[in-house]
Amino acid sequence: MTVSAPVVSDIASGSRRLWALRERSLGWLEELLPTLAAILISLLLFGVFVALAGQSPLAVYAEMYRGAFGTWFSIQNSLLRAAPLMLTGLCTALPARLGMIIIGGEGALVVGGLAAGAVTIPLHGAPPAVVIPAMMLASMLAGGLWIGAAGALKILRGVNETISSLLLAYIGIALFNHLVEGPLRDPASLNKPSTPDIGEANMLGNLPGMDVHWGLAFGVVMCLVCHLLMEHSVFGFAARMVGGNPRAARLSGLGVPRLVILTCCIAGAAAGLAGMVEVAAIHGKANASLLAGYGYAGILVAFLANHSALGILPVAVLLGGISASGGLLQRTFGLPDAAVNVLQGILFVVLLGSQTYRGRVKLRRSPR
C-alpha cells in the first residue's frame, strides 16, 4: 500500500503552518503578557486605593465597567472619548519609534482646535465641502508646526525634545487664551470666551447607525495609515532604523534630520486633527473646553500600546472607557473626578516598572 507523495507533503505543510501560527501567537503573547500583567496589578493597586478612600473596590469596578462598556450608550460614550485619544496617542507614539519622547500633544491639540475654529471665520458662508477640509488642513498644519518645531529644535540645536515639546504646549495654550479672549473672540460669547460658531452645517455628523461622530473614523484611519507608514514603508523602515541606532542610520546615508522633523510633523498633525475633531464634532467653536487633558492622556495611550500605531486602537478604547466612567464614579460614590487620573497614573507607573520583564517572559522553547 502506498500513500501518494502529495498527501504526505500536504499534511507536513499543514502542520508546519499550524506550528508557525502557534509560534507567532505565543510570540505575541510574550510581548503582551507584561502589559496585561501591568494592567491587572494596577487595577489591584487602585482597588486598595479605593478601599482606603472608603469604598468597596468591587462595587467601584462594577460601576466602572457599566459606565465604560456596560450599555450601548456607555460604549458610544467611550468611543467618543477614544477618538481624540487615538490621535493624541499617535503624537507620542510616532516620534518614539525614532527614539524621541514627545509629551506636548496637548499643545498641538489646542493650536489645532484653534486653527480649525479660526479658519471658518474668513470662509463664512462657504459650503461645508470647502469648510470641513479647510478645518482639517488648518488644524493639521498648526499641530504639525508645533511638534515639528520640537523636532527641528532637537536636530538644529540639540534641545531636549521632551522638555521643549511641553514648553511649546504651555506657550500654545497661552497663545490660545490670548486669541480666544481677544482678537478671535466672538462678542456674543459672554461667560465662556470662544471663537465664532463654525455653523451647524459644518459640524461633523454621526457615523451611520450610532451616536458617535466621524472623528472616530478619523482616528481609526489615521492609526491604520500610520501603521502602514511605520511598518510597511521605506520611510517607516528608515525611521525605525534611526530609533534603533542613529549612528548606523546616519552612516548608511539616511537623511536623519529630514526623517525626524517629518515624523514630528506627522505626529503633531495627528494631535492637531484631534483638536479639529473636538471643535467640529462636539463644541462647535474653539474655547477652553478643548483643554480636557486628551493630550496628556495620549502619552499613556502611546506607552501602553508600546508605540504601535495599531496597538493604539484597543488601548484608546480602553482608556476612553476609563475616562467615560469617571463621571459615574463621581455621581455614585462621591469619588472626586481625579480618581480616573489616579488610576491612569498608577497604570503608567506600573507599566513602566513592568518594562523590566520585557523579553524575559518565555513561553516558547528556546531553539537548541
Binding site: L156, I163, P336, N341
Partner: protein, 310 residues
C-alpha cells in the same frame, strides 16, 4: 489690595518684578537644587512637577491639621522623599527608562494631589510667616515687595552649601563619580543604584518643600491651578545653570522675575497682552535652552552618565 502705581508710576513695574522674583523664585530654586543633586548622580527625574504639586497639597493639609505651617513643610518633604524613592527604585531596575518614569510620576502625582486635595480647596491653613526686608523704606509698596519668607532664605543659603558639598565632601565626590562614570564607581566598590536612589530621594525632599512654599506662602492657598509647570521649568533650568547649585539660584531669580512680568504690567494698566505675558517664563526657558544647547557638542558640565544612557 495695594497698587504700586499710586505713588511710584512706572517704577512699580521693576519693583513688582523684583518682589515677584523674591516670592515666586523659591519653588524654582528648591526644585532645581533637588534636580541638580539627582542629575549629578547620572539620572533625570522629570517627575518633580508631580512631587511639587503633591508637596503643595500635603503641606497645606498637614498645616491645616496640625496648626503649624512648619509641620506642613516637614510633611511635604517626607512625601517628596517617598515619591523620590519610588522613582529611584523603579529606575534602578534593568530596562526601565528614567525619563518615561518621570513623566508617569508627574501624571500620577498631579492626579493623586487633585484627588486627595479636593477637601483642601475651601479651608484656610496657617501660612508661613514673612520677614520684612523693606524696613529701611517708608514706601509701603517697597515694604510689601520685600516681604520674603524664611524658607526662601534657607534656599539661598542652601545653594552655596550644596556647591561646596558637591565639590569638597566625600559624599559629593561619590555622587559625582557615580554621575560621571558608573563603571569607575562600581570598580571602587560603590553601589551605583543605591547612590542614585538616595540622590533621587534628596531631590524629592527639596521638590516637596518647594511645593509647600507654593501653598503655604505664595500664592498661599491650595487649588488645582497652583503649579503650572514650575517643576518642569526648574528641570530645564538645571541644564541652563550647567549643574551648578549657585547658578541655579541666579537662574531661579531670573525665572521668578519673568513669571512676575505679566501681573506687574497688568498692575500699571497694560492688560491687552495679559495672556501672552503669562507665556514669558515658558518662552524664556525655551529661548535659553535653544541658546545654551548645541547639536554638535555637549556641555562639559553635563554628568557623563546622562549621555551614556541616551
Amino acid at each position: 489690595m495695594s497698587d504700586p502705581t499710586v505713588t511710584l508710576g512706572l517704577w512699580g513695574v521693576p519693583l513688582a518684578i523684583l518682589g515677584g522674583a523674591l516670592r515666586v523664585s523659591a519653588p524654582f530654586l528648591f526644585v532645581s537644587l533637588g534636580e541638580c543633586i539627582t542629575e549629578k548622580s547620572g539620572r533625570v527625574n522629570l517627575g518633580l512637577e508631580g512631587t511639587l504639586v503633591m508637596g503643595a497639597m500635603s503641606g497645606y493639609g498637614a498645616s491645616l491639621w496640625s496648626g503649624s505651617p512648619w509641620v506642613g513643610v516637614a510633611v511635604a518633604g517626607a512625601v517628596g522623599a517617598a515619591f523620590g524613592a519610588l522613582h529611584g527604585w523603579l529606575c534602578g531596575r534593568p530596562k526601565v527608562n528614567d525619563i518615561a518614569v518621570g513623566i508617569a510620576m508627574m501624571l500620577f502625582g498631579i492626579g493623586l494631589a487633585f484627588f486627595l486635595g479636593k477637601p483642601l480647596i475651601q479651608p484656610t491653613a496657617p501660612r508661613l510667616p514673612a520677614l520684612s526686608l523693606g524696613f529701611f523704606s517708608d514706601i509701603p509698596q517697597v515694604r510689601s515687595a520685600l516681604q520674603v519668607n524664611a524658607l526662601f532664605l534657607a534656599g539661598v543659603v542652601l545653594a552655596p552649601c550644596l556647591r561646596w558639598g558637591l565639590l569638597r565632601t566625600r559624599w559629593g565626590l561619590i555622587l559625582r563619580t557615580v554621575g560621571e562614570s558608573a563603571e569607575a564607581a562600581r570598580a571602587m566598590g560603590y553601589d551605583v543604584n543605591r547612590v542614585r536612589l538616595w540622590a533621587t530621594v534628596a531631590g524629592g525632599v527639596l521638590a516637596g518643600i518647594g511645593g509647600s512654599f507654593l501653598s503655604l506662602f505664595y500664592p498661599g492657598s491650595y487649588n488645582e491651578g497652583l503649579s503650572s509647570g514650575q517643576g518642569l521649568m526648574a528641570v530645564a533650568l538645571v541644564i541652563f545653570a550647567r549643574w551648578d547649585p549657585v547658578r541655579c539660584l541666579y537662574a531661579s531669580l531670573l525665572f521668578g522675575g519673568a513669571t512676575a512680568l505679566g501681573p506687574a504690567l497688568q498692575s500699571v494698566g497694560v492688560t491687552s497682552g495679559y495672556y501672552l505675558f503669562n507665556a514669558t517664563p515658558y518662552a524664556l526657558t525655551l529661548g535659553i535652552m535653544i541658546l545654551s544647547s548645541s547639536a554638535k557638542r555637549t556641555s562639559v558640565d553635563l554628568p557623563a552618565e546622562l549621555i551614556a544612557q541616551r
